[in-house]
């Protein structure tokens, strides 16, 4: 019965996404042409990959704010490593980022510090390191070698290599969180830290895994996008966090941890992409995009909080045992 109510929740979100889609599809032919859909999918890759990682840390009851800076750093590293080849470079960068994330998770667990506080520090520091590593200059793939990166813009119907990477990552994360012990542990510690500990869940492992995956995905996003563009700027991706977080929240990842699904993240992601892309494509000024994104997010989280509070009261009322009027012996 609860399974169906969970899917009802997802259906509601899907409905919201479709409404946003339809509203813009009425005005924009590119919303239903194959090339347009492909472009929409491509536009979701960057924030989508990052949102998957942010979702994991949020599910674990933590929060990784450093993803934007890390993606920028990853982009710089990927372009610097370009001479070893496109895919080796991506793999090395993702591994390095995963290691950084694991270390971050380990420290957060070891010190026992609030991860939002800790990652504010790393958010500043990673950006600084990106500037340092790049010598404060945009890093370029040599123009004569740029053809090597064409492999990243290959197309298969409405899918490109990049959007396939997004969906592959989403599928893997989905499988990981649903069907593996380690993935379920992330849900467990987010839903009840002390309960999980008492039940024997090793808290450190899921925290490290969540942060390692979050960093790896941010690294993958930064590396892919930078190599595709053939250049990386140390200042890029600073508004990434907002969109990733918005995708998670609209997709139903709970701010309190333990709840949410990867399918929801994808729904939230496209909801926000349809909105942002649509408003920009209509030629509306920036403030319209900004206001629409912010208001949508505020409405969603406030409504969700109110709804959750009401549901909690309802459950409490239901749980109250029926009074048995009987004078005890």
């Amino acid at each position: 019965m609860k399974v169906s109510s969970r899917s009802a929740d997802l259906l509601g979100r899907l409905g919201l996404m479709l409404i946003v889609y339809l509203v813009f599809a009425l005005h924009l032919p590119s919303y239903y042409s194959p090339a347009g859909v492909a472009a929409l999918l491509d536009s979701a890759v960057l924030s989508g990959l990052v949102a998957l990682g942010v979702a994991l840390t949020m599910i674990a009851g933590e929060m990784d704010l450093s993803v934007g800076s890390l993606a920028a750093l990853a982009g710089i590293l990927a372009v610097k490593l370009f001479p070893i080849g496109v895919f080796p470079s991506i793999i090395v960068v993702v591994l390095v980022c995963a290691a950084i994330g694991a270390l971050q998770g380990w420290l957060i667990h070891r010190i026992g510090i609030n991860s939002m506080i800790f990652t504010v520090g790393t958010l500043i520091a990673f950006r600084g390191i990106a500037l340092l590593v790049s010598g404060e200059k945009t890093q370029l793939v040599p123009l004569e070698d740029i053809a090597a990166t064409d492999i990243l813009i290959g197309k298969f119907g409405i899918f490109s290599v990049l959007s396939l990477a997004l969906f592959a990552a989403a599928a893997l994360i989905f499988a990981f969180t649903r069907w593996t012990l380690w993935g379920r542990e992330i849900f467990a510690i987010g839903g009840g830290r002390s309960e999980s500990r008492a039940a024997g869940v090793p808290i450190r492992r899921p925290i490290m895994i969540a942060f390692a995956l979050s960093a790896a995905l941010a690294g993958l996003a930064g590396a892919l996008l930078s190599l595709k563009a053939g250049s990386a700027s140390p200042l890029s991706y600073d508004s990434l966090l907002l969109e990733a977080v918005a995708a998670c929240l609209i997709g139903g990842i709970s701010l309190k941890g333990g709840k949410g699904s990867i399918v929801g993240v994808l729904i939230g992601l496209f909801c926000i992409r349809f909105l942002v892309t649509g408003i920009a494509a209509l030629g509306a000024p920036f403030w319209a995009q900004s206001l629409a994104t912010g208001l949508l997010l505020i409405i969603v989280i406030v409504a969700e909080a109110i709804f959750a509070a009401a549901a909690g009261r309802f459950r409490l009322a239901m749980r109250r045992p029926a009074p048995i009027i009987k004078v005890p012996a």
Binding site: I117, F118, L291
Partner: protein
């Protein structure tokens, strides 16, 4: 189970080394070291320069400290709100004159603070909520400014923005005065006490009949007023406002609060610490600037300092618990 949190007397005594002493010690140490390395650093003039550099960030950091002390971590909307309020101030001064402009700005600031405070008391996650609000404020700033520079022509504003009574810039006077007033308010005002207690333990506060929701709203109104003061000073100094003002400043404010050692679990610390944190960072920035550190290195060092300070203060606190 029974809960005993007795602490050995020696620990209780160590507890009495307040955190701001550590920050002051760090400021003095850095000042001395930097003075030895860079002779031009340890001059009275440069000290004034550092306080001036700390002022604008510090004014907002003081407001941010209210948020932290009330148990709401911090806000990511201060910079965007600053741009919005700057535009509002410039528009209102242009149409209504300085006094009315100031009043209108404060009014909008208070409303913005209330909206955020109420939302946060419902949602419960201040960081995400203010992240969403920041895009709204930035959008409103662009909308109201019509994407152009809003200029003002007000002698009072100019005097406020560029005056130097007794050789010290008005911004620094305001910074110092605000730090002291905020400190007094936190210590002595009833609302200040409400804020502290709500941050120290919201459950106990509710059980004691205190209005924790009000505390959150008050904290965000205080932050918004700090932001308004910053916006008014900045607009006055340069006689203009733009929608892209203060972009990227949020982390400066937060860094000041963190480096000042205000406990993030709330209920401890004072606005003075945020002020000291702002001065420490300004000192460090000044030293690095004068020694030609690159921007990347400067940012890395500040990030490292934030990590070091939060980690160290956190461990210090945990050991004492």
């Amino acid at each position: 189970m029974s809960i005993m949190t007795d602490v050995s007397p020696s620990a209780a005594r160590r507890r009495s080394v307040p955190r701001f002493v550590w920050v002051i010690a760090a400021i003095v140490a850095l000042y001395l070291v930097a003075g030895v390395i860079t002779p031009s650093f340890a001059t009275f003039d440069n000290m004034l320069v550092i306080v001036r550099a700390a002022s604008i960030t510090g004014i907002v950091a003081i407001g941010m400290s209210y948020v932290t002390i009330s148990g709401n971590l911090f806000a990511l909307s201060a910079a965007a709100l600053g741009a919005f309020l700057a535009v509002i101030f410039a528009l209102a001064v242009g149409h209504l004159g300085f006094a009315a402009g100031l009043a209108a700005t404060l009014l909008v600031a208070i409303l913005a603070g209330m909206a955020q405070g109420l939302s946060i008391s419902v949602v419960g996650n201040p960081i995400i909520t203010t992240l969403a609000f920041s895009t709204v404020f930035r959008g409103l700033a662009a909308l109201f400014s019509g994407n152009s520079i809003v200029r003002i022509d007000s002698d009072i504003a100019l005097a406020l923005g560029t005056g130097r009574p007794l050789g010290v810039p008005t911004q620094s006077w305001a910074f110092i005065a605000l730090a002291l007033v905020s400190w007094a308010l936190i210590r002595r005002a009833r609302l200040g006490r409400l804020l502290v207690l709500s941050g120290a333990n919201p459950q106990t506060a509710i059980a004691s009949g205190l209005n924790v929701r009000l505390a959150t709203v008050v904290a965000f109104v205080a932050l918004s007023v700090g932001v308004a003061i910053m916006a008014v000073f900045t607009v006055s100094q340069f006689s203009q406002a733009k929608a892209d003002l203060f972009a990227g400043y949020d982390f400066d404010y937060i860094a000041a609060v963190l480096v000042g050692g205000i406990a993030l679990r709330g209920g401890q610390g004072s606005p003075l610490q945020a002020a000291l944190g702002a001065i420490l960072i300004a000192l460090l920035q000044n030293f690095m600037l004068l020694n030609g550190f690159t921007a990347g290195l400067r940012m890395t060092v500040v990030g490292g300092l934030v990590l070091l300070a939060t980690g160290a203060f956190h461990l210090l606190q945990r050991r004492l618990r």
